[in-house]
Point group: C2
Chain length 337, copies 2
């Protein structure tokens, strides 16, 4: 089969690899219907994370089950499935608390930008859709694999609820999905911090009530104007830089909550959080916990997170997909195997 | 009137001071019925915080209104009142969010270990009880002024709810009140980390289902045994040392929440919190937000937080009160003016 391999900075190529096979009785092998490039893949692409040797890459996917292990009970060949970027047994005490991303029997997998993928813990990781989706639903189902699940987690972690005021820091695919999640969870003021016209448009379509292009003191002043002068109930930090995190603290009202899904860089200003009673929560999204509800919403065409894909390319053009995202010509690129 | 004055480390004395008077139209002056010594007062008493000049001390009180300013509407002379350790206008956007401890028009006051106190923002700070309380209710009403309000805030910040498993770090008066708050909020497993028999007894009376005297690896092993091997849903950090805070992180399950009310010392392990999705929230308690409910519970004799007072002394013996708490001969000392 063909698969994307990262060789080093700015060097991703498609190559032939052996087809994956069922190794454990809990495995499934799926034929990929769509996959995509993640902002977090760019860390290695940009040389900001090491690539000691050529390695398959990608962790987002939807596909059709081709083969299952003897212990897989909830899936059968031919099922169209969605799964998160981490596998989990979905049965242990941690999973039962809804924190599948910390499942001690789970983990990550790379190599999903490929024609086929082996999924461990298939019963605890994949969910079959009610039937074969219409083609126009595929991007939105694919978005659930990471960015929409992660945006949802940011909103849940920030305790977004009906009537909340929300600021979303970061206008990448995850931040935009955070806007969509906040709207679904009933927020009534949703402020998207965005300077890019294309992303502002998606944010508005997803439910942003205000778009703030300013940064620094001006951005803070605009946020305060929109939140009775005190800051937002909930702030979604969807970037991961120290600057974004400190901005998020500023945008939060006393007693408010910051939901973090961007990878942590830099220490937290503990004292500042404490004296103003600002809380912080978040981490890798337990996508599996949110999938049933999110699949229902997509299936009923109530949400359309697939709007974050503004470029579609064949898998053979994966190098161009990375370039387009690296150069910010695309928000997110869908790959067709 | 007589008032406690701190002169420096290990030097608190009663002295004569002028009676306080109404200065602002929003002030009230109360005659103190009971006051007490707080663990946070010991920072200065132990020489761990500076005392540049002799200063009145104390921030917990219940009393009877003697005089009100022209703009005070909800109180009248003769009312028995309870108030928190910070004043607030209880009307601004921050207060309306329930975060009165961050009211931009409020602040702290010292000097409550005295026969009379001037309370600014009286309408937004004090609440009159339904009538003159029976003498046995006075200690419990006094406890609401800080320690019970703060323990309640730790539990609320840690998102304690029906069915939660909770660990309480710290067996001082605030920690013990955190146990009581957790029980009231419906937690079904409440683990008090305590090595002192007298405090263990109060913890059990307040609703602790388990008492763990062990620390370090052994303490963590015991907590895990009691929480399906994964740690608690909610951990209340009621100490404020770096060690206590790191212990709290360990005791928390993936996706769980740490409620902090101990003053922050040391930075947070940001990465560790993120990768296990542990959240942290808390700070100075908005006692005013919780007072109406807590007064109801005390008035109905459903809770008895006054149990944390295990020594009662006249105000004239304030020096002995500080010594008893400093030497851990008493959990908390009530002073009778």
């Amino acid at each position: 089969m063909r698969a994307a391999i990262i060789h080093g900075a700015h060097d991703v190529r498609v190559a032939e690899r052996p087809d994956p096979t069922v190794r454990e009785p809990t495995d499934a092998v799926i034929r990929t219907v769509a996959t995509c490039v993640c902002g977090s893949d760019l860390w290695r692409y940009r040389g900001l994370a090491p690539v000691p040797e050529p390695k398959p890459i990608g962790h987002e996917y939807v596909g059709v089950v081709e083969e299952i292990g003897d212990a897989v009970n909830t899936l059968k060949p031919g099922d169209f499935v969605v799964g998160g970027f981490l596998h989990s047994d979905n049965r242990c005490p941690v999973c039962r608390k809804g924190m599948q991303s910390a499942c001690p029997h789970g983990g990550g997998f790379d190599g999903c930008q490929a024609e086929r993928i082996r999924i461990p813990n298939a019963d605890g990781t994949l969910i079959a859709t009610p039937g074969r989706p219409d083609a126009d639903l595929v991007p939105s189902l694919l978005a659930l694999s990471d960015v929409m699940g992660t945006g949802w987690h940011a909103a849940v972690s920030a305790d977004v609820r009906p009537g909340s005021s929300v600021v979303v820091v970061g206008d990448g695919a995850v931040g935009l999905c955070g806007v969509l999640a906040s709207a679904q969870l009933g927020a009534t003021t949703i402020i998207a911090m965005s300077r890019h016209a294309d992303r502002q448009a998606v944010a508005t379509e997803f439910g942003a009530t205000h778009v703030v292009p300013e940064r620094g003191e001006d951005g803070l002043a605009r946020v305060r104007e929109l939140t009775e002068g005190i800051g937002a109930d909930a702030v979604l930090e969807c970037v991961g830089t120290e600057e974004a995190r400190l901005d998020a603290v500023e945008y939060t009202r006393p007693g408010g909550m910051i939901g973090v899904v961007g990878l942590p860089h830099g220490d937290l200003p503990t004292d500042r959080l404490f004296w103003s009673n600002k809380g912080i929560r978040g981490g890798p999204a337990p996508v599996r916990a949110y999938l049933p509800h999110l699949i229902d919403l997509v299936w009923a065409r109530q949400i359309d997170p697939g709007r974050v894909f503004d470029l579609t390319l064949p898998l053979s053009e994966v190098a161009e997909a990375y370039r387009a995202m690296d150069e910010r010509r695309a928000i997110k690129v869908l790959l067709q195997p």
